[in-house]
Amino acid sequence: MTRIDETRRSVCLAGAALLGSALAPAAARAAQQDVFRIGALNSITGSGASYGPGMQKTILRAVSEINAAGGAGGRRLQVYAEDDQTKPEAAVLAAKKLLDVNRVQAILGTFSSGVTLAVMPLTNAAGAILMNTSGAPAITTQNVAGLSWRFEATNDRYGRAFAQAVAQGGFQRPAIMAFNNASGISNTQGFKTAWEARGGKVVASVVYEPNRPSYRSELQQILDAKPDVVVMGSYLPDTTLILREWYQSGQDVKWVMPGWAGNADLVKALGAEVCEGVRVVQTIANEGSPALAHFDEIYKAETGKDGSTSIYAAMCYDMVVTLALAMEAAGPGATTAQVNACIPKVAGGQGKPVDSFEAGREALKQGPVSYQGASSRLNFDASGDASPDFSISMIRGGEIVRQGRVSV
């Protein structure tokens, strides 16, 4: 502060600030009421880092579109972005900051089930909305406050899609093999429940431990029951090992597995011959929908990559549109609880189908709408779980070829 011009400038600034503060309170209070704060809590680093940055960019872009369209329910959206490091501990710290310091009314985009389950008690206590892309069944049971909305398919739905794949393949004697964790077990249990509801029977069931040098005994236990197909709740490394040992043992059986195990990396590790005929089940975007086309456009602009590379970013896009429509439905000055209560009215499957925020805002004047998202048609059920469609594919000649699409 020795130079004169700088001193002069700071005096000017102080003067402006004084003047501003004299005039500001009323305006500021009005502006505060006119803002709905949301947190974008994404996995920018850690094991979810391949999806997180694109998810966060999508949220920021979608929010600026809503604001450019005049906001929702008479309010502008304001985003505070944070990194959960794909770790529950880091996520809790970030969520506390978002809720206590930034006073956000909704947190969007938690990806890993562990993160969502860790953040949920905080959002529940603060009365804030939580929108996630996680699969664990525990999220449904812990959603006691009804503030959590899941845009990814639950493991139960995966199980039902597995049952469809097995039925379409004409199999009679399925067996199940599950990696010993919540996801592996609940995927295969979901299949068992759905298959038995169809009057079928599961001939053998094995839960196996991770990081073993061999799964021959586990395989033997399954194959001794002479199944015609094995349904896997598995991950890539264990699936690689199991299929290699199965192929070498020369026994005849087919395979059904989730997309995160049966993918291009599996073919790369084992070769096309071993993987031939493996059936792969995975969630797919709301193909052919205008919302997906628009999302694809903005995702390309933000990341340079195809929208089809991140179903989770598509879910984040839908989160922002769903929230904005609910704010619109709840009307100006609505509380967080009132906005939350309006989510089923805009994405619950009842009402006029709409493809965008603007179309929904118009249609809401007549009555409830059903936002048809980019990631799925949403159709939230009473537990707050969306209902994405699944694809059933088959690996043929090393390529993963789509066989059909199923809704469950």
Partner: protein, 292 residues
């Protein structure tokens, strides 16, 4: 009802797994007997060797044999390097210092490896061959190769220990370090031979594991507990005991699958270990330590 053929298949699986564990277990027990501490980095020597084989195959398009030779060189080099940089300077400190240092080495080696190789799975490319079927008893050619190489490596180590002067000196140091020094045995040469042998055993184990399973940065660390259990069961410092105990633990583990299922088979192996140690605290072949 479990058929005899089914049991025989489980026994084959147990035998192969046991032989695979025998390699790091032997490395662990040799180091324990001669250098006097449990080397927690044993598993990570395996991991580095396995990655060395993958790199040879990927970057240099080396044949399987050449890749294995590269892995062997990497394993021996890493073991000697750690000896020179870490364990030799600590040799005069209490054994627990070396143990803690070896945990540090393990973490460091794994972190460096992950930094360069990432978390994605790798595999050593080998031709896939169908099993030979003997009336329901299925033998995988890969498993036979793994078992054959493991047995060969174990025999080579025993031949070195019992048939060469340096082997005799190693056993002398293990038996009584003071007497060995008084008899003019040069500890420096013995230590070099020990670490070269420990590294080679780990490298062989790492490559065989890579051929049989998939390679991840945690591969060796995950095997360490099993190898440690085999060392304890066999009698600490007893090479033959470690090998036999590995096979016994492997058999107990796999043969329990039809009874308790695969989730609890590991617990069965450790329950067996516990029972043996309750009856024989020095392990199956350990000699009782005289009170000082």
């Amino acid at each position: 009802m479990i058929s005899a053929i089914s049991l025989a298949n489980y026994a084959v699986n147990g035998l192969v797994e046991g032989l695979l564990i025998a390699l790091p277990a032997l490395s662990l027990t040799l180091v324990m007997g001669i250098a006097g501490f449990a080397n927690a980095a044993t598993g990570d020597y395996m991991t580095v060797s396995a990655y060395a084989a993958v790199t040879m195959q990927k970057a240099l398009a080396a044949s399987l044999l050449l890749a294995a030779a590269g892995a062997l060189a990497a394993g021996v080099a890493l073991a000697l390097l750690c000896h020179w940089l870490v364990f030799r300077p600590l040799a005069r400190r209490p054994a627990v210092t070396s143990l803690v240092a070896s945990i540090g080495v393990a973490l460091l080696v794994r972190s460096v490896l992950t930094f360069f190789a990432g978390h994605d799975q790798q595999s050593i490319q080998t031709p896939l061959m169908r099993a030979w079927n003997f009336g329901g008893l299925r033998l995988l050619p890969t498993d036979l190769a793994v078992a054959g190489v493991a047995v060969g490596a174990l025999l080579a180590v025993f031949a070195l220990l019992h048939g060469t002067p340096i082997g005799r000196q190693m056993r002398a140091v293990a038996d009584n370090p003071d007497l060995a020094r008084a008899s003019g045995i040069r500890a420096r040469r013995v230590m070099l031979a020990l670490w070269a042998m420990a590294g080679a055993l780990c490298a062989t184990g790492g490559v065989l594991y890579g051929v049989k399973a998939v390679i991840m940065p945690d591969l060796g660390w995950e095997l360490l507990i099993a190898a440690f259990a085999a060392m304890v069961l066999g009698g600490i410092g007893n090479p033959g005991g470690a090998v036999l105990a590995s096979v016994l633990l492997g058999l107990a583990q796999e043969l329990s699958v039809p009874l308790v299922g695969p989730s609890y088979k590991i617990a069965v192996a450790f329950a067996a270990l516990l029972l043996v140690l309750l009856a024989r605290p020095r392990g199956l072949f350990g000699t009782a330590l005289a009170a000082r």
